[in-house]
Symmetry: C2
């Protein structure tokens, strides 16, 4: 069963060693990507190539050692996946942070850690200023971390989270999923197909950006951070850089939207189910929200700010899509549009897009299921003895699943509230603390207010706040419970 | 069975007519209270007494007509209680608003409606300025509306909401509750006992205030708005008026806390269960939160603002208690204490105190039950096949009940979010819109920010915003679903 993955397995050992091997492979992959960064730096005649090179060698040696240590390990229990998933993201961040720390001037380890976590979790909040003059190697490194974070998220959402039964992801168990306690070989063919979709989508984005007038380098890096809904741009002005090329905003909006749809449905469409996307209740709701918010802001800008309709529509669409897909680019400082716009972007920060995409946040389907519970409860108030069967699309939603989803909603908002409280200990104002916490946990990128708003930057925050925000980004990316569960005593009692 | 309540019933008619009779009694009671306001105005030689008098006569006539119309009505179905409850609060507000509208100079009907809804729902947000020079009759009217709102809330929480099964109130069904479909005569003796507790508590508060140095008038009116956790004060500075008499803050804190505890437990204590209060899980959590928040703010003020410890403790306690009990007095502008304080008060605004008290908000037990669901879900993630029995105090919490509670939490925050969005259409800033919505739905009183903060006032808001906020206050007081359900088509299909 696991032969395709681990042909070398000859005997089973303690499953803990499998964690070593997986982490080892991860570091080897990271070392490989660092080698690509070496090539980029060399291509642009940047002397920093040696940092990437030596760090790649260091990472590779450690990775190989871990793989060697775990070479005899067999399959593992689903429960250990919590630990493995958390450790994977943590070690990826740790070893990816080294180049930032060594290369960028005045970059403390805190800043390097923040930037890396922000990159790998595809949050896209930045503490770097002067991006316009940053070495190409560093900009590439930021973008490629966004990109591998993006694929990591989808694989996690497809292969790991449903097995962990976190936050209602069970709803998206595919036919390939088996119900045994053995996890790793599950849905390997689906993961491959999805990785392929991710790759194709990335290349399409890059080509479109290039044709639209970006430089080759910008097209490649922005393509990566678009499809990952990561949101790292190569300029301090983010996508404000392209204000004279509005067609770039339309291309960006299109591909951000695509990256925020369930990737499984793309695979279904390729397999012949042409209607898969349009029939999905989550996709419909998501696109409706985007449409309504965009039109509302367009009308608002035309009436309030006396803007021409094309400009209003272009910037409304781009920024709404950017925030709800949790990409986090900004074409301009939308907080200047007015209070209604600020409120709308505040809400969009929490929402997130579709499950099984690269986006973060609460996800539309959870909001829909919570609404489903409400409808059911209201029916029960009127007809107390009736029995109601809730449907989501064609699937029956049992109470157990609803409980999981609502527990997730609760822990999601509780985490944001807790994080905001922690941030206010560093004397950050209400709006900065709350939106900072929300944008971190939802992996969006920009917050609101004068400090971390779309025109701002996270660099001026106190070090402690940066650590809390990094924790928030990681928690958000790990759907919170994966990380939280490691701190319960009963997890370790086995 | 219903003889004690309606000895005159001789034959059953359509149950709709019972709604008339109940509303009629309500208006007769309101007319009676208006007569007390007449006495107050006469006592202070205020010419406005004729307004109260004529409005009392008008209300009494209408009330009598309604009672007469419904004189043959028999008992009603529990479903009709939604309509009856909503109509009761609405008609109370409507007929109580008349004196404000006629007496207060420059008072539009919008302002009169806002102030009345704020009074009757015990929110305590005010649009009146120059309270210090307001006729005593008007100040009395504000306070007494707070007070009858307060008793209305408890009776509703004891006798109506458990029957309606809204938001987990079923947990507090008393032994007196029967399970039949007949509602009104239920728990009448308990309601009487609780009304008595309310009365005794009010008198104690008034006497304490008077002994502490308030004028007789202030002692009576503030006593009423304290025990109702209404929060209307007789001065523009709210309780800042008493900054030279810190013992008044301690007395106020004590009685606000008492009024925010479950009144049923007072009855139990009187009946001999001395430990009833301390053994209640909700009371323990509530007092713990108060303690922690107070100590945190005390230390914060001592260290940050260089305040002496007694002052810091007094004002921390008073304002924390005032906000979490949803009373809403302010002893000073606590938003000047610093960002941490603002954040804390922001959260306290949502929380609310104990169920079955006069307080509003989400209520502590709902937060506890949501946490219970989270703990259960985390256990399920680790041991997927185990069966867990959740306990709250000595009561078993089934999934059905948890669903009700979580649906309530969802609709609570959704209502606040929706209301905040509506407010931002009137160009209110993020903080004003969000805290305005929260303080209305939670029936607290003050919000945050420069406009509606503890040092501010709701008078400068646009008329439309005042109507939305009034709706929010009513929805909060009706535990949202009671009102919402009237807008579903299936409610009316019977
Ligand atoms: K992002
Ligand atoms: K209040």
């Amino acid at each position: 069963m696991s032969t395709t993955f681990y042909p070398e397995i000859t005997k089973a050992t303690h499953s803990r060693f499998l964690i070593y091997r997986v982490l080892g492979y991860l570091l080897l992959m990271l070392a490989g990507i660092k080698m690509i960064a070496v090539l980029v730096a060399v291509f642009y005649h940047e002397s920093i190539f040696w940092v990437f090179l030596s760090s790649a060698v260091f990472t590779a040696i450690l990775g190989y050692a871990l793989v060697y240590k775990g070479r005899f390990a067999s399959d593992m229990k689903s429960r250990q996946l919590f630990l493995l998933t958390t450790l994977s993201w943590l070690s990826l961040c740790l070893f990816a942070a080294i180049p930032f720390w060594l290369i960028v001037p005045d970059c403390s380890f805190t800043d390097a850690w923040f930037e890396t976590v922000s990159a790998v979790t595809t949050t896209g909040s930045t503490v770097f200023v002067g991006l316009d003059h940053m070495p190409k190697g560093v900009l590439f490194w930021r973008a490629v971390l966004n990109w591998i974070g993006g694929i990591g998220i989808i694989v996690m959402a497809i292969a790991v989270l449903p097995a962990l039964k976190i936050g209602g992801m069970r709803l998206f168990k595919t036919e390939n999923s088996d119900t045994s306690d053995k996890i790793l070989p599950r849905s390997s063919s689906l993961s491959t197909a999805i990785a392929l979709v991710y790759l194709v989508l990335s290349v399409c984005t890059m080509l479109s950006y290039y044709v639209a007038g970006m430089t080759g380098f910008d097209a490649i890096t922005h393509g990566m951070s678009t499809v990952a809904t990561g949101g790292f741009a190569n300029y301090d002005a983010s996508f404000g850089q392209y204000k004279s090329q509005p067609h770039i905003y339309w291309i960006g909006s299109f591909f951000m939207l695509a990256a925020a749809l369930p990737f499984v449905l793309f695979v279904s469409m390729v397999k012949g189910h042409r209607q898969a996307l349009w029939r999905d209740p989550q996709v419909r709701a998501f696109l409706s929200i985007v449409l309504i918010a965009t039109l509302l802001l367009t009308v608002y800008q035309i009436s309030q700010n006396d803007r021409n309709w094309f400009d209003a529509l272009t910037h409304s669409l781009f920024n709404v899509v950017s925030i709800i897909t949790t990409c986090g680019y900004a074409s301009e400082d939308y907080t200047l549009w007015g209070n209604l716009a600020i409120m709308l972007f505040f809400y969009l920060t929490f929402a997130g897009a579709c499950s099984g995409s690269t986006s973060g946040g609460l996800k539309i389907f959870r909001i829909q299921l919570a609404a489903l519970l409400l409808v059911k409860q209201m029916k029960l108030l009127i007809h107390p003895k009736a029995v109601w069967v809730q449907k989501y699309g064609h699937k029956t939603v049992d109470d157990q699943l609803l409980g999981t989803v609502l527990a997730f909603c609760f822990v999601y908002f509780a985490t944001i509230a807790f994080l905001a409280m922690a941030l206010s200990f560093y004397d950050l104002d209400l709006v900065t603390a709350v939106t900072g916490a929300a944008t971190a946990v939802a992996n969006v990128g920009p917050g609101l207010g004068s400090i971390i708003g779309p025109a701002g930057n996270f660099s001026s925050l106190p070090d402690g706040a940066k650590w809390w925000l990094s924790l928030g980004m990681l928690m958000g990316r790990l759907e919170i419970l994966t990380l939280l569960i490691l701190f319960t005593p009963s997890y370790w009692r086995y």
